[in-house]
């Protein structure tokens, strides 16, 4: 599903590359934690998958496509197969829950009938039954993140990228968020989650990839956050 072949990404005006010779494979339907201190290259990794950045060196394949050979006008096609969730939710404050989710389908030209059918389904899936009319500022952080997840998932992407989705949420609420991610993963969607949250990583017992200074220093199936002592 995601295949990195000795990928290096160096930004201008930076002495050390953000990622250095990263080789890695994520299979379809996997759940992967991406851990490591700030500046270790987690965000760069996610941006490369979305083709918001191009690698300085190496090859990246996402959903069977060679990103180096993807023309600019085909990038939207790629992004339709990838859902994204962020620490800061990125909801539209002037739209209610339903409209926020529907927006993701409207802008890729889905018919209204389809939108009316799938948006309520996904609202239920993330556990926001009956809150479709609420505005984002009427929701708690955890609920807002559920809306963001619903928006990311509504088009049934093959991959869901989550960049510290629990970063702004208290531990108790985080468990609910993780349950939603797990539910999404069980539908066959590959989930890649960058996080600092040791408790979550330890409790989930999924594959853990640790980055440090742009290099993969650990890749364990059923791993934990810290080093296994």
């Amino acid at each position: 599903m995601i295949h990195f072949e000795s990928v290096t990404k160096a930004y201008q005006n930076q002495s050390r590359p953000a990622l250095e010779s990263v080789n890695l494979d994520v299979e379809k339907g996997e759940f992967v934690f991406l851990v490591g201190p700030s500046g270790s290259g987690k965000s760069t990794f996610l941006r490369l998958i979305l083709r918001e950045e191009r690698p300085t060196d190496g090859r990246i394949y996402v959903a069977g496509r060679d990103l180096a050979r993807l023309t600019n006008w085909k990038v939207p096609q790629l992004r339709r197969r990838i859902g994204c969730v962020f620490q800061d939710f990125r909801l539209l404050p002037a739209k209610n829950v339903y409209q926020n989710i529907a927006f993701a389908l409207e802008v890729i030209g889905k018919p209204r009938r389809f939108i009316r059918k799938v948006v309520p389904e996904v609202i239920d899936l993330v556990g926001l039954e009956g809150k479709g009319e609420r505005m984002p500022d009427e929701l708690s952080g955890g609920e807002q993140q559920r809306v963001a997840m619903a928006r990311a998932f509504v088009n049934r992407p093959m991959i869901l990228l989550a960049d510290e989705p629990t970063g702004n949420i208290d531990p108790a609420t985080s468990i609910g968020i993780m349950k939603v991610l797990d539910r999404i993963n069980r539908t066959g969607t590959t989930v890649v989650m960058a996080t600092h949250d040791a408790a979550i990583v330890d409790s989930m017992r999924k594959r853990v990839i640790e980055l440090e200074y742009g290099k993969v220093v650990r890749d364990q199936s059923r791993g934990v956050y810290g080093q296994a002592y």
Binding site: R79, V107, I108, G109, N155
Partner: protein, 302 residues
Amino acid sequence: MRAQFVFGEVWVGLRRNLTMTVALVVVVAISLSLLGTGLLFVKQVNHTRALWQNRIELSVFLCSATPLTPQCSKNGAVTAAQIAQVRKTLLSLPEVVSVSYQTAAQAYAQFKQEFANQPELVSSVQQGDIPASFQVKMKNAQADAGPVAAAVTGMQGVQSVGDDSAILTNFYKLLNGARNAVVVIAIILIVAAILLVANTIRLSAFNRRRETAIMRLVGASNFYVQLPFLVEGRIAGLFGWLVAVGLLIAARSGLDGLQSYFPFHVELSTFDLVEVVVVTMLIGLALCGSTSFLTLRRYLRV
């Protein structure tokens, strides 16, 4: 394509930066209407020129009993043979269409009639003061007047040659000057309009940066991301153009009103007006469309 969605976004965009939209509409309206006025002016001048072109004549004045030039005082009044000679010379010129002879008596009668409302002027002139003359019609008055005048000037019995087109040339200069001024102002305003369109789009892009970011993230095509902005620019341009059409109709009736000061009416037809209106619309659309397209390429990258 979901038209309802796109127009919903456009409406929100236009309302959000209303002041900018209003400024844009006003500047587009004024620049387009000035440009249109310039075009109407051009048409008016051409119409007038075409009319006068056919009416301009060369007057070849012949020596009378009261000589006014040294040549006439030396040779005395014109003789019948000299009149015949001048007529023959004129008719032999290829540029000349027709020649008519006006006797001194006829000239005096016409003078009295034309200046009937200025009796003191009429009483100061006696029959014989105005010389007999040939009225010469030419194929192309402006171009031909020079050579025809040269051909007869200095002939026996010819006192002087009067060229009407010299007066008109000044008149044209005035009209052309006014037209150029209007066009220059219009061009300056169009530059201002282009900058305003660019600025409005930039503001709009800034206002909608959240929406745009999400659209890119969920895989909306470039076209979809940019369409609301393009439509926004065009709609503002369209409103400006509509105002300009109103102003142009007013300008046309103003030009027509000016006509009453001239003895000959050369009014602009409705067709002229429609032509100018269509041209300004095309210019307006091209202006708003291309500016917003170029601005978007700078501010909305994938």
